[in-house]
Amino acid sequence: MTYRLAPIDKRPFAAEREDDFTVIGSVVQRSDARGHVTGRTEFFEDVAPPGLLHLKMHRSARHHARIRGVDLTAALAVPGVTRILTHADIPNNLYTPLKLIGVGPDDEPILAVDKVRYLGEPICAVVAESEAAALEGAARVRVDYEDLPAVFDVEEALAEGAPLVNEYHGQNFFKYEGHHCRRIRFGDVEKAFGQADHVFEWRYESAPIEQAPTETTGCVVVPQADGRLRIHSDTQACFFTLDNTALILEVPFNRLRIVGGTVGGGFGGKVDVTVEPVACVAAMVTDRPVKFVYDRDEEMQVSSPRAAERIYIKDAVMDDGRIIGRKVTLYVDSGAYARHTPYGTTKAAAHLPGPYSIPNVWADCHCVFTNRTPSSAMRGFGVTIGDFALESQMDRVARALSMDPLRLRLLNAYRDGDLKAHRKVAEGTALVEVIQKTAELVGHELPEAYRRMSSTTREGL
């Protein structure tokens, strides 16, 4: 073993009970490691029930189009194709995953009805005796499209005259309690810009990022003799998937049983409920086990990525480095449907203006619909891109003032007891100490006054 176990610095935990420190600083073997190194860990696709049917999706070849008609004749003629599901087979075809916590409206069909809103949207599900037959059948479905103008840019989507992406919302943004975006209003930023020695404004932008787990998204659904469905899934959210699937199938929750918890890489990409509902319908109508697993190219194209974001930050800064005002306009690209992005946008708003005590803050955080792949969860979604922008902004401000970037942060870092822009009192902040320790570890010199700063007091500022 090559681990260096440094003694724990318990000073920050002075208020904690000594006997609570039984795990930190010790080596605990992972409970699943032995299964992984012997190949005995059971992933969902290791289940091979007899009589298994395979499901493959026919997906939209258009970014935005009306569906004039779907011709299944050639697909049904493929030997081995047993059934093709369309929207008419799904008991409750319209849903949104966060309805479980009261977020609406339902805005996404399981299988497209009269319109597709992004490239790769599911239209019909081909069920067959073999994977090859299912693929062949899916390739032979013919869809007659009437193209509609599409929009791929968040600001263009909000401009007047932009094509309407999602009729269930009625406009190209998610409405938060009647507001067009998530907002922060704290102090008076315009006044701060008037008083500031410097005003700096820059734009930041990110592309969507695919989680690309090595195990693609999928499930195997096995009908049970008692009428229940056993769902072997690699979902990251077993109960969430179970509840949403039950709502879509219009069955009581106890008709479903999820066997999961083993996820071959998720990173947020396996939080959405994308394969289980349609596989369950296929298993119900055929009364046979059904497997629906994404190919690698499907995983890359249609599994929901981290949302693209565009962020404008405008700062009011004094000569000594104090930031007295910060205005942020943030656009999150939800793609064609809401999924988890209204929540991600709220997280983004909650994370502004960064870990700094700024007396005047104004933020508008827009969750925008475009004709791109729906975005959703990925590792701190809503927060990480904002951090990239905020911390890039801090570095650029420091550079513009010819100031040490760590000193700029120490000067503005929030202290315990500060009122944050969300009108919450900051507690247990520790940012000052973390920066000081980091500076020490990397040999970055700080003047005595900055080394003496503390997150528990505003003295010395």
């Binding site: 073997q29 699943d32 860990t41 787990p213 071959g264 990173f267």
Partner: protein, 172 residues
């Protein structure tokens, strides 16, 4: 073409099965022989999760038509532990926290087995080169490299004889 009977020596045991021409070694292992340690990650030979040893050389089983390796020897992760005892690579992966989600683990261990069989004292660069065809999306590469080097040390200390040296690594 009709299906045919194919035989392989899998983890030292002769096995026979019926295969359609072109069926991949991965499909046979997983669906005919019930050996599910090797995984399908990309089905195009680029992620390495399906890696097994064919004649002691790493091969991406998703690209191998099984009739092309008829009567050859195949080693999978299921054949690495003996009598329930982990070998040095397996125990080193456990001790060095070289597993996260576990999906790449089978491929990583088989590549490591092949490396240590032909080179009992690899350099760090050799290890990195050996696992270069295996994707870990949890990006835990560092502990994996440490675990393989540690396994080599454990083997040398235990006086384990290197296996039959393999020829050139199979195209991957």
């Amino acid at each position: 073409m009709p299906s045919q009977i194919v035989s392989l020596v899998v983890n030292g045991e002769p096995r026979e099965f019926i295969a359609r021409p072109g069926t991949t070694l991965l499909t046979i292992l997983r669906e005919s022989l019930g050996l599910t340690a090797a995984k399908r990650g990309c089905a195009q030979g680029s992620c390495g999760t399906c890696t097994v040893l064919v004649d002691d050389r790493p091969a991406t089983a998703c690209l191998v038509a099984v009739e092309t390796v008829a009567d050859h020897s195949v080693r999978t992760l299921e054949g690495v532990a003996s009598d329930g005892n982990l070998d040095e690579v397996q125990s080193s992966f456990v001790d060095n926290f070289a597993t996260q989600c576990g999906f790449c683990t089978a491929g990583m261990i088989m590549v490591a087995e092949a490396l240590l069989d032909r080179d009992p004292d690899p350099s760090e660069e050799d290890v990195i080169e050996a696992i270069s065809g295996n994707v870990c999306r949890c990006t835990g590469y560092r502990p994996i490299v440490i675990a393989i080097l540690d396994a080599a040390r454990r083997r040398r200390e235990a006086g384990v004889e290197p296996g039959r040296p393999a020829e050139e690594a199979v195209s991957r």
